[in-house]
């Protein structure tokens, strides 16, 4: 018998069922007493509020640290006090073990953002995946897509909508290129999650409107690697693909996420790959990503027209973008013009209806590598 089953069996057998019945009677009696005893009722109400506060303190502390609006050590002290934690291996372990006192503000913010990313994914999974799927039913890749999208929508609604559009643009471009079904699915997933690493990017950096320091820019560049790691941590993602293509689909999707900021002339990141050395899915996403960034309204600039954006993409053919991708995208735009224009219109309609958003960093317009 494996240890899991043995522990479960011991736990089940270690209990006297009469004890539960006795405890139930005692609990019901205590509950009914509360109804007649205002002092005890007040005590319990305060205890319940105290417990709820301590449950939410951790998340609130992380949010404050992430926004960079408080002194980290001071707030951690407060958090430890508020939650009555005496055990450093407890709730704050993920943070404390990284020696906050010696960390630079950007390092600390990045660390906090990573912890928050994990928690955002977890919370989305907690709300969106049934606690006990029916026997024989497994968590599906559609469940996991929804979880990551919910987590991203909570972090940054603009990026969430951007991911959905890139996914569609990448598929249209892939179809124009005559990609196989597996490659198209990798383009769809790669497009959908190419910026998912921004979940692990500090709000203080993501929303910064002024120029970025070198350290902050390096933190932004890490979103490609972090995105691939987030998807890699969820191997169930590719479980439903046929066995013969599962490995290929996972590899191509991950390449799309990891290398979508590479440039055709080798001046991109993270690897400085050039030409055909850049995986095809990443070259597809790069063009779609740039087109969407240019045609979206941001708080610090108006959207450019589709024709303007296409001219810019054509101008960067052979330097920033693979010329073959550029040609295919121009044709795909002509062929699917109504659909693509509708994507642009829907984003700009959302922008018109929402209050000015924080200037989420958009590296296509920063002239950064």
């Amino acid at each position: 018998m494996n240890i899991d089953d043995e522990i479960r069996q011991m736990a089940a057998a270690s209990h006297d069922p009469h004890r539960t019945q006795d405890a139930l009677q005692a609990f019901l009696a205590a509950a009914h007493r509360l109804e007649d005893d205002p002092i005890d009722r007040q005590r319990l109400r305060e205890l319940a509020e105290d417990i709820d506060t301590s449950i939410s303190t951790y998340d609130r502390t992380l949010a404050s640290l992430d926004r960079g609006d408080c002194d980290p050590l001071q707030i951690l002290d407060l958090c430890v006090e508020a939650t009555d934690l005496t055990d450093p291996d407890g709730l704050l372990a993920d943070l404390l073990k990284h020696q906050l006192a010696d960390a630079s503000p950007v390092t600390l913010q990045s660390r906090v953002a990573q912890v928050r990313a994990h928690r955002a994914i977890l919370k989305a999974a907690y709300r969106n995946i049934p606690a006990a799927p029916l026997p024989g039913l497994r968590v599906t890749s559609a469940d996991l897509e929804r979880v990551l999208m919910v987590a991203m929508a909570g972090k940054d609604p603009y990026t969430h909508r951007h991911l959905v559009r890139i996914s569609r643009l990448a598929v249209l471009l892939g179809q124009q290129l005559g990609m196989t079904a597996t490659q198209l699915e990798a383009a769809r997933l790669g497009g959908l999650f190419h910026d998912i690493g921004k979940l692990a990017l500090s709000d203080a950096i993501l929303a910064k409107s002024g120029p970025l320091t070198d350290e902050e820019f390096r933190a932004i560049q890490e979103h490609t690697e972090r995105g691939a790691l987030i998807v890699e941590e969820l191997p169930e993602f590719f479980d439903q693909a046929p066995g013969s293509v599962r490995g290929l689909l996972a590899q191509e999707t991950m390449s799309g996420i990891r290398y979508h900021h590479e440039k055709y002339n080798g001046m991109g990141y993270p690897g400085g790959l050039a030409g055909d050395g850049i995986p095809q899915v990443a070259r597809v996403i790069a063009v779609a990503d740039c087109f969407d960034a240019m045609t979206s309204t941001r708080s610090y600039r108006a959207a450019r027209s589709a024709q303007d954006a296409l001219r810019e993409i054509r101008r960067c053919s052979g330097t920033e973008f693979d010329p073959q991708m550029v040609e295919a995208f121009l044709i795909a735009y002509d062929t699917n013009r109504d659909q693509i224009d509708e994507l642009i219109r829907s984003e700009n309609a959302v922008q018109d209806m929402t209050p000015p958003e924080p200037a989420t960093t958009d590296h296509h317009f920063l002239g950064q590598p």
């Binding site: 240890i3 899991d4 043995e6 522990i7 479960r8 011991m10 736990a11 089940a12 057998a13 270690s14 209990h15 006297d16 069922p17 539960t20 405890a23 139930l24 005692a26 609990f27 019901l28 205590a30 509950a31 009914h32 509360l34 109804e35 319990l44 109400r45 205890l47 319940a48 417990i51 709820d52 301590s54 449950i55 951790y58 939650t83 009555d84 934690l85 005496t86 055990d87 291996d89 407890g90 709730l91 372990a93 993920d94 912890v115 994990h118 928690r119 994914i121 977890l122 919370k123 999974a125 907690y126 995946i129 606690a131 006990a132 941590e233």
Partner: protein, 181 residues
């Protein structure tokens, strides 16, 4: 239904989770004699929030979140009144479980095995193996990442297996026992 609380549903919830929660707390180092008080207090707080959590949350996960915090407070109070500065102190102060039924031996063994685990592994293994929470629920309740839960559980399994094997060997080598064939 009294005070806006559906007591039938609450009683069924109590019966379904009382055993697991009590066993979880004892495995975390809570003295058996105090576990009933913490369990009752946790269920009373759940009763306070019942109408909300029954529709919008996972009541079982909320119950464990509450119970863990009550247990932390209890352990901290014990420390302030002269106990040691960690849960190990509480474990060492713990009287042997006194139970007039045969079930006590198993519970004592379980508590002894879990005592060998570091606190985070103990909490993770308790929620996964005793409380039977999913990986997602365990991570949410303890505020850990999915990766941390998986790695802590894997380390805990190794230690627990070792404990079981040691006990087995000790049993087998007792005089009067036939060696395994």
């Amino acid at each position: 239904m009294l005070d806006g609380v559906d007591y039938e549903g609450l009683a069924a919830f109590f019966v379904a989770h009382h055993r697991g929660l009590r066993c979880y707390l004892i495995a975390q180092g809570c003295p058996d004699s105090d576990s009933d008080d913490i369990v009752q207090e946790a269920f009373l707080i759940v009763r306070q929030r019942w109408s909300t959590i029954v529709y919008y949350d996972r009541p079982k996960a909320y119950l464990y979140k509450v119970a863990i915090r009550l247990w932390y407070r209890y352990a901290a109070k014990l420390h302030r009144s002269g106990g040691r500065n960690d849960h190990e102190g509480v474990l060492q102060l713990m009287a042997d479980p006194v139970d007039h039924y045969a079930h006590a031996d198993l519970l004592r063994t379980l508590a002894a095995w879990f005592r060998r685990l570091p606190p985070q592994q103990r909490a993770v293994a308790g929620l996964r193996l005793i409380a039977d929470l999913s990986v997602i629920e365990t991570a949410e309740v303890l505020g850990l990442s999915l990766g941390t839960v998986k790695s802590q559980l894997s380390d805990a399994r190794r230690t627990l297996t070792q404990c079981r094997d040691n006990d087995q060997q000790a049993d087998d080598s007792q005089p009067g026992k036939e060696p395994p064939r």
